[in-house]
Each structure stands twice: as C-alpha cells, then as structure tokens.
Amino acid sequence: MILAHLRLRRRVSPLAAGVLEGRERSETLAHVEACARCRAEHEALRAVVAAMEADPLREAEPGVPLAFLVARVEREVERALVPAGRPRWWLVALPAAAAILAVVALVPLLVGPLRPAPEATRAAIPPAEASPLVTEDALARIERNLAREHAVRYLSEAGEVLVTVAATGADCDPADERLDVGRAPERSRELLERRALAVGSGGEAVASAQGVLDDVELTLREVADLPSCVKRADVERVRREVDERQLLMRIRLMTRELEG
C-alpha cells in the first residue's frame, strides 16, 4: 500500500492536468479515491486547472480584424525587405535621365565656343530635337512611373494611418472611454494636403487606383476631423468603415498593382 502510494502520488499532478491516459489514468484515479491525502491534493490542483479553464482570456478575440493584422505584418515585412529588396528601377533611371539631359544641354554650350565647327560640318549636324538621347517615350515612361510611385507612397502612408486608428487600444481617458490615436489626425491632414501633389497629376498612370484613392480620401477626412484623444465609438466607426470598404485589402492590392 505504501509502495503503491509512493509510486502513484507522483501521478496526481499529471492526473489533475489531464495528461494521463489509459491504464495510468484509471490506476491513479482508483488510488486517489482510496487515499485521502492524494484526494485532497488532487482536488486542490483541479481547482487550479478549473480556474484557468474559467479564465475568459481563453476565448478572447483579437481586438482588431484579421485584415488589420495582415496589413501591419505586410508593412513590417515590406520594411524589412526594402534594404535588400529589388531596386525600383525608376529611382535609378530618373537621376540618370536627368544627368543625360544636363549633358545634352551643356555640352554644346561648353564645347561650342571653344571649338567652333566649320560651317559645312555644322550644317551636317542634325538639330538636337531630331535625335534626342532620351526619347519622349522614355520620359513619359519615367513620368508615369513617378506618378505611380507617388500614389504607392500616398496609399501606403494612408494605410498606416488607418491601421493606427483602427488598431489603437491605448486609453487616454478611461473614465470617458476615450482612446489615444496619437498623430493620426495630424498625419491625415498632411496626407490630404499632399494628395493633389502626390496623385492629382498622375493621369492615366493611376487611373485604375481612382476608386481606392477616393475611398481613402473620404476616410482620411473623417480621421482628420478627430482629436488625438477620441471617443471609442468614433474609433469603432472608422474601423467599421475601413472594414466595410475593405480599404486595407484594396490598398494592398492596388499598391502591388502600381508597383508592377
């Protein structure tokens, strides 16, 4: 009996934790029934486990929709990738094109006075605009890419603002159920001011993004009107709106499309 007690009392804790199975479990249960000391210990440990099973956090739901989390994670992944990621070629192409244009414009000015060409030779040289080093097509392409880049940056920053508002859980005035949205209203105002510059002249290059840009603008205007310490209900309203319009997902898809 004593030997059995010494052997089985070590199983009381696993029994209470629910990790014993089969014969081990039935053997230990029988012992617990018969042994007052082990039964008391088992009951005390079961109370601990029951308290955890009754803890409401077991079934807690994240306070933000999945789309917000996905957007936050993708933004962080993007940030982590940018230094080692693929270079955006127009960021290289634009300065290169500017340098070529500068050379095209300056070389005749600098070389011309020093070494005047004979009349016959000068006449044989075709006018500069007839065979430019950077064609109009190439410049138009660079402009289109720049417009897209501006739109991508605008949408990404707008997405960050919306995530900040929707995901906030920081109380700034618990008594009045107010939440801290930090600089989100200020950033919204800045973005709205930049909107025309960022995407207004994009023309056809960002035509496909027009719907998203309009919806983002509407929501940013609402955020821009908020104080930094805002009523929970107002945050909920913005969150609902973003959710219903599927803004974060659309921003994500559109930025990818614009990035090509």
């Binding site: 804790s13 696993p14 209470a16 934790a17 990790v19 005390a44 440990l45 109370a47 601990v48 486990v49 308290a51 955890m52 099973e53 009754a54 803890d55 409401p56 956090l57 077991r58 079934e59 807690a60 739901e61 994240p62 306070g63 933000v64 999945l66 989390l69 996905v70 936050r72 994670v73 993708e74 962080e76 992944v77 982590a80 995901a167 859980g169 920081a170 109380d171 618990p174 159920e177």
Partner: protein, 191 residues
Amino acid sequence: MEPLQGGAGDRELMARLAAGDREALAPLMEKHYRRLYRIALAYLRQPDDALDVVQEAFVKAFQSAPKWDGSSEAGPWLARITVNLSIDRWRRNRRRAQTFTPLTESDHAASLADGGPSPDRRVQGRETGERVAAALRGLPERQRAVVVLRHYQDMSLEEIAQALGMSLGTVKSSLHRALARMRTGLAGARP
C-alpha cells in the same frame, strides 16, 4: 479550440513563404492568428502587447521561413516563436516596471468575444482572470509557458516539448512544479 496541426496546407504555405511569396502570409495568418493571440495574451495578459507579439511572430515567420524544417509542423513552430517573443516582451515590460499593472475592466471587456457572457459572469470571469493572472505571474518564464500551452491551448505534453524545444521529462516536471506553485498562489489570493 483551433487545430494545432495544419497538415499539408500549412506546409504548402510555409514553402511559399520560404520562396518569398508574401501572398502566403494572409492565409497562414487566418489559420493561426487567433491561437497565437491567445497564447501571447495568456502569457502577457495585455491585449495590445499580445497583438504586437502576434504581428512580430508572423514577420519573424516570414523572415525565418527559409530555415523552417519542413518535416515538423508549422503550428508548434509558430507557437514557439510566439512564446519566445512573449518572454522577450515580458522581460522588456518588467524592465520598464510596468509588469504589475493589473488589467483594467475595459481591457477585459475589449478582450472578450462579441456576444460573450452576461455582465455577472463577466465580473466573475474578471475576478477569476485576475487571480489566475497573479498566480501565473509568480511562475518562472518557462514554467509559465508550459502552463499556458497546456491549459490555454490544450496542447499535449509532446507538442509542448516540440514547441518549446524541451525534453518530455522537463515539460512534465515543469508542469508539476508550476501547478503546485499556482495552487499556493491561488489559495493566497482567494477572497
């Protein structure tokens, strides 16, 4: 409780992540984010911190996907990342001396599922939650991780061993010690 083993679907998503396919993040998150959130929340007891940990866990998963051992399950692997990040966050919070701030009522209300229990049960649940939180705080980091995975995620001892990189024997003894310690803690906290 959501399934821990994601099977072939998880493997495919992990393989895509390893190849740098960011489109695989959303479906992987959809499958696991609730479970990881509950692990982090049970460990940290702060909804905002738990959300941050889940976010970091998926970023880390994306970055570490090429190193993922395809023979193991993604579920325990993600749980391991989440537990380690929760422990890091816990240490940082402790250093900032904010660790012992009790959950406020609004934190709890926000963390409960929509259409949850009645107000009475919520109050009761909150009291239980606070007592359990205090008892969990009294545990060493790894013991707390074992208890969280076992009693908040219903993971088997083998799964816990795999997730935490511990031997089965260590998991068993950790669970035993943790429950004994919590028993004392809860008895002391009883009203």
